[in-house]
Amino acid sequence: MNAPHSRRTFIAGTGALVVSFSLNRAFAQEGGAAAPKPPGPKLPGDLSKFPKMDSWIKLEADGRVTVFAGKAELGTGIKTAFTQCAAEELDVASSAITMITADTALTTDEGYTAGSHSMQDCGTAIRFAAADLRAILLELAATRLSLDAASLKSADGTITAADGRTVKYGELVEGLDQHRDVRAETGIKKSGTFAVIGKPMNRVDIPGKLTGGESYVQDMRPEGLLHARVVRPPAYGAKLAGIDTAAVEKLPGVVKVVRDGSFLAVVAEREDQAILAMHVLEDAARWNDTTALPKQSDIQSYLRALPSSATTILDRGTIGQPGVKALRATYSRPYKSHGSIGPSCAVALFDGGNLTVWSHGQGMFPLRSALSKLLSLAPEQVRCIHTQGSGCYGHNGADDSAADAALIARALPGRPIRVQLMREQEHGWEPFGPAMSAQASAAVDDSGKLIDWQYEVWSNTHNMRPGGAGNLLAGQLIEAAFKPDDPKPIPQPEGGGDRNSIPLYALPNARVISRFIPQMPIRISALRGLGAYLNVFAIESFMDEMADLAGTDPVEFRLKHLEDARARDVVTKAATEFGWQPNAKLPRGRGQGFAFARYKNLGAYCAVAMDVSVDRQTGIVKIGRVVAAVDSGEAVNHDGIRNQIEGAIVQSASWTTLEEVTFSDKEITSRDWSSYPILRFPDMPDSVDVHVIDRPDQPFLGTGEAGQGPTAAAIANAVQRATGVRMRDLPLNPARVKAAIGV
């Protein structure tokens, strides 16, 4: 909440202070995957992997508290929610807490910050660790005061006895062993007693971001900093055939040209000098051997014709029931860009044989592993420190720029190197969200219930994250190139391409087949929601189609097939708050749509209702009023949840009505915001209202990715009601809408 917080985090990450600190921390991290599992029931959240208290929280003698989160702040407000978790369970002021996030020298290895997992895995661990630390402090104070611990009260870092005597937390630190297993049986506070959880708390990072604070890796300016730019090949597979660097090396400010195979970069004293030199270098480079790309207009049939392996992930009852009415439909999505507003950036320093990298990637430990392979260093010689960047929404160019910075830094030991991608490099080379398609068929019986459901989904992997050095672009470009890892599907129940392909609805006879396509003609990886975006779009569009076939209102049709009480509550809440009317009479060109999903069938529940208008002349779909309901389990920060769902709705509206990565037979052609347009202010919905259904004392379910799928289907369902035309191929952009309605 105040300047010292973020400042201290930075200092902890950049200065010499770290050396002694990291020795402590290496000790605190004992008990990783290789350590013997503690006896007793599985510990909650990531305590199950790292059971030591000081892996998560540490009290100092001055009463200050440091919380160590292995998850990173990606702009979702997670640092604030973690702070609330710790402040609540430990009974300290949030201003007494310093939050350290994802740093290979200081925090636990919680893998990637992805999949809406942060609250479940990390938030839960912090709560239990803080609660047990408080319990220990109460026991120590009870001994000191010769009283029963149950008679003591704690607040704001101070323990108070009924007789008025007080003990400050910090006074109990001496001799306190904080490197101990957390006792899960201590438990966490019950709702109703909360002072911080579920109460409004402003984001701790917003004031700095609003006043020019040093908030991002892009803002780092350590002493002696040099600026670098890379030259990317013109197309996939291109090899650097030759280059004369003499002219570039004579340019003002240029310090060095770094070349290794087809990896090419230039380093200069000033950023603008590096950019000018990059352009000269681009002109001087000669490339050959580009890889041919499939025809964009045929991409779905191209992908489906590639070899694939089928897994039946749901096989219930006896499929093939004819019912009284049946339908079959195919849905698809194109490649989509993460499109971060700030091109990816990293700072690296190679000094004394050790590499330090400041990166906004989602997994600092996997990045360390990849960089150590890339540079042939031991993992202990590499430290990766998460430092915020522009929102990523999945695996964008962040890890690539970290690898760029590392290679360049190794060529200039002792000087910190900052490299930021150019817009066209981010757009042209990021790993996109994969193109996908799905086929659904179903039948209803004479009571209007679904009697048969069959669904198949075709997809590449959704995870080409580093781990392997070949998953870093630079790793593929250097002379001694690394091969990308073999693509693997992400197994159910979370799933990758088949995420959310099993409907939550009660279906007596159903089969779902996941078809995994290993071969990837376009560079791809994780984009917010993975396969859930297409699968929820398809299933929830198809539910509307089946509702129409059954002659039932779409909201009623969903409720008719939903047994999960929390799912029913979310659907009912969204419909009620929207004022959903079956067969609402709307003016020509306007329609209302509804959709629902439980993310991954085990995360947050989210339902979206909206109205749209479709301009028949232009084909533009304009979203009017949007109402959503979300159940993320116990709500720590209501406004944080609303902010995430509002953002998901707007982002998905952009994906759904506009976005499509374009490519020629040689190269990606959507390389800026004019060739890859996203929604601008005049295109925004009239309003977005999000209703949070709080579930006190229930586990956290995460939030970040719950809204994308339902929004896409709600738009398509509303467009169908506005135009009478069902659109099943994304995006619903003006050209496609015009073609579909025949104008």
Partner: protein, 160 residues
């Protein structure tokens, strides 16, 4: 060597005249607010004011700034004493990653100075050059309306 005026202070900068203002602000003056987003004038992350007009600092060479006033988000207020537009964005929690937000704030500042009574559609049209990828626009619009109301009220009180 060029002389420019940023947030009311004259500064001498040792950079080529063609250097875009953005790099001078960020690297020579160590001002974090204006951000590199595209270098093409398509996203607005680098927006600052020059004589109260919003400009893309990524496309504005310092050679054209002689005798003109450059204002960045750092010139609107500080963490301890934020200006009215900054306060409104904080009050509405109008940010997710926040990378685009300084540009949004600067365009909002210009909007309110030029059109203090802008309608909803005028606000949206005026803000069209600036992109946000997190989908924070609905909150940004709330923050703009809040800032507009507060600044109108404040100027009305001064007039009284």
């Amino acid at each position: 060597m060029a002389t420019i005026t940023v947030n009311g202070k004259q500064v001498k900068v040792d950079a080529a005249p063609s250097t875009p203002l953005l790099y001078v602000l960020r690297n020579d003056l160590k001002l974090n607010g204006a951000k590199f987003g595209c270098g093409l004038g398509q996203c607005g992350a680098c927006t600052v004011l020059v004589d109260k007009e919003p400009v893309y600092s990524c496309l504005t060479p310092i050679s054209v700034l002689e005798g003109r006033q450059v204002t960045t988000i750092e010139g609107l207020g500080t963490r301890e004493d934020p200006g009215p537009v900054q306060r409104a964005f904080i009050a509405e929690q109008a940010a997710q990653c926040g990378y685009c937000i300084p540009g949004m704030v600067m365009r909002t500042q210009a909007l309110i100075e030029h059109k203090p009574h802008a309608s909803e559609s005028e606000i949206r049209d005026y803000m069209a050059p600036n992109l946000c990828r997190c989908g924070t626009q609905i909150r940004i619009l709330r923050a703009i309306r809040r800032a507009m109301n507060e600044m109108r009220t404040a100027s009305a009180e001064i007039a009284r």
